[in-house]
Subunit: 341 residues, 2 copies
Amino acid sequence: MFKVTLKKIASTLGVSTATVSKALKDYPDISEKTKRKVRSLAKSLDYKPNSFAQSLRNKESKIIGLIIPTIVHHFFSNILNGVIDAASENGYLVITLLSNESYEDEKNKINLLLEKNVDGILLSLSDKTVNYKHINRLIDGNVPVVLYDKISKSVNCSKVIINDKQAAFNATQYLIDTGCKKIAHIRGPLKPQTTIDRFIGYKKALEVNNIPFDKTLVYVSDSLSFENGYNLVLKIINDHHDVDAIFSFTDLIATGVLIRLKELDIIVPDQISVMGFSNWFLSKITSPTLSTVDQPGYEMGRKAFTLLYNELNIIRNNEPLIHEVIEIATKVIPRNSTKKK
Amino acid sequence: MFKVTLKKIASTLGVSTATVSKALKDYPDISEKTKRKVRSLAKSLDYKPNSFAQSLRNKESKIIGLIIPTIVHHFFSNILNGVIDAASENGYLVITLLSNESYEDEKNKINLLLEKNVDGILLSLSDKTVNYKHINRLIDGNVPVVLYDKISKSVNCSKVIINDKQAAFNATQYLIDTGCKKIAHIRGPLKPQTTIDRFIGYKKALEVNNIPFDKTLVYVSDSLSFENGYNLVLKIINDHHDVDAIFSFTDLIATGVLIRLKELDIIVPDQISVMGFSNWFLSKITSPTLSTVDQPGYEMGRKAFTLLYNELNIIRNNEPLIHEVIEIATKVIPRNSTKKK
DNA sequence: TTGAAAGCGCTAACAG
DNA sequence: CTGTTAGCGCTTTCAA
């Protein structure tokens, strides 16, 4: 199969490549007659401009990079989905790479994207990311970056986040509203802002309701595994025989909690209420079904792309860049692991 | 920030761009001394070759396209993961696109990839794909394609598949070995080869064990939803009061089955055994845990990329192309929704 | 309304 | 061992 190029079209039509190029782009200085001729031949030959040549000239690839901590996770799958959709609607394609929650990987993957000259990068920080030089270098180098979900306050760029504080506050408030008084919290690793914020939201809700904060009710789960929840249950009820709710920072761990409670013949929600976070698919099919907080990944992905897209346009037009921070609202999804209001 | 180009390095060093280019590529006809000079300057300037120019010259993008029917699915997330890993190990990046199980989308997404001049495409057919012209056009156009998971026998290209027939055979045999005699099968949509093969495997196992095949024991679930399994249960036990096993073509549906059976106070596996397919994450946390067939998505992704990579090399060297079909072995994962052997 | 020409940054055949 | 040169396919300025 021959590659159809501008040159080929030009020569069979007896015009110059410049004319063909302009005709195809509907420049006003080409006659309608020529445009028609060019367009129809281009169509019949199934002409596709060579994207390499275009990119080389225009200095843009129309490709963006997306870095995800772990893909095998319902929330991030949804984000990927949202990014891809929004991107293709606007003529962009997306290269996905995984950081596997590793700082080294994160740096390396950013480099790979840079080598491919992506027009911008969407990034969710790995849990292990300890400094932000690599990201600031991007920004200084004029590669737009948008941070999503796991962000850092100390990086100066556009961001899209869940309002984790508010979400955790609402979840805790919901537990309190349904009569819970001694609420344990299983929190995530100390580093990422998301788990910090969820913890703060939890604490705040207690405070607002005049429930004294008891730090021994806070348990840390460093890894995001089902087993962790399963294993923590015994510790929690040994430490606090009268605990009446467990609020976990993520559904997966809450699921482990649920299963262990059942094994221990503790009735959910009558004896202990359980609240998750994320609204993973699995929360619909646990037994009892898991009350949780919906974290709209798809929308977050779309928004993240949109922010990047805006920056790309601003840069192209040499307008002054302003960074935006979008907070996405969440809502509590009551199911059967909590009592009725 | 200035872009560092070959020209810049050449001029500051007082040599030609050709020399710089060759030095960086470690050509044997450049002196060690020059190479050292060039390399050290390149490093200190953080020189990154312009990928557009390289691609334009070399006629390859080092990017491959991956089309996935639905990402929010544990199996496909794993495949994506495997593809990305294998690709980056070999210097390739991957653009992911979703067909959403739609034929139109599938065609459009392939076109998008073509416009970006990807070096090859990894494709899992959508359930709705009815003809293969768009794929054959690719192959004729010398764009290597590897079909994975949902394939078609009538497309002549490399493929990587689960041995679905064998897997379903083994799963059914397992049920028979544990004493089941009247095994219902919930099969998927009529079109994709995977669900056809799983059905065939089921039938074959009955035959080998001299259990007469009863087509009223086969139920079709056209969509891959939890609710479908949930809803089919009543119909199955109404139709066949003495059914003692349900083999579902996918875990999600089996999970619905499990939950409904529990609601109906039917003991699993004592009264009815349940076997899923795919070994989704969720099968580990249902209650009882779900026996299933492991479908190694990650490995499949890796293999798919490897096949594509081989073809790319073969084409580059003008060697004769031979298509390979790789079958990935699966194994039954016994858990608590089936009886012990 | 059209075309010539330059150039994006890189590679490789060829000459010196 | 090094440099000259042509060219990948496209866009865009400037001249005709």
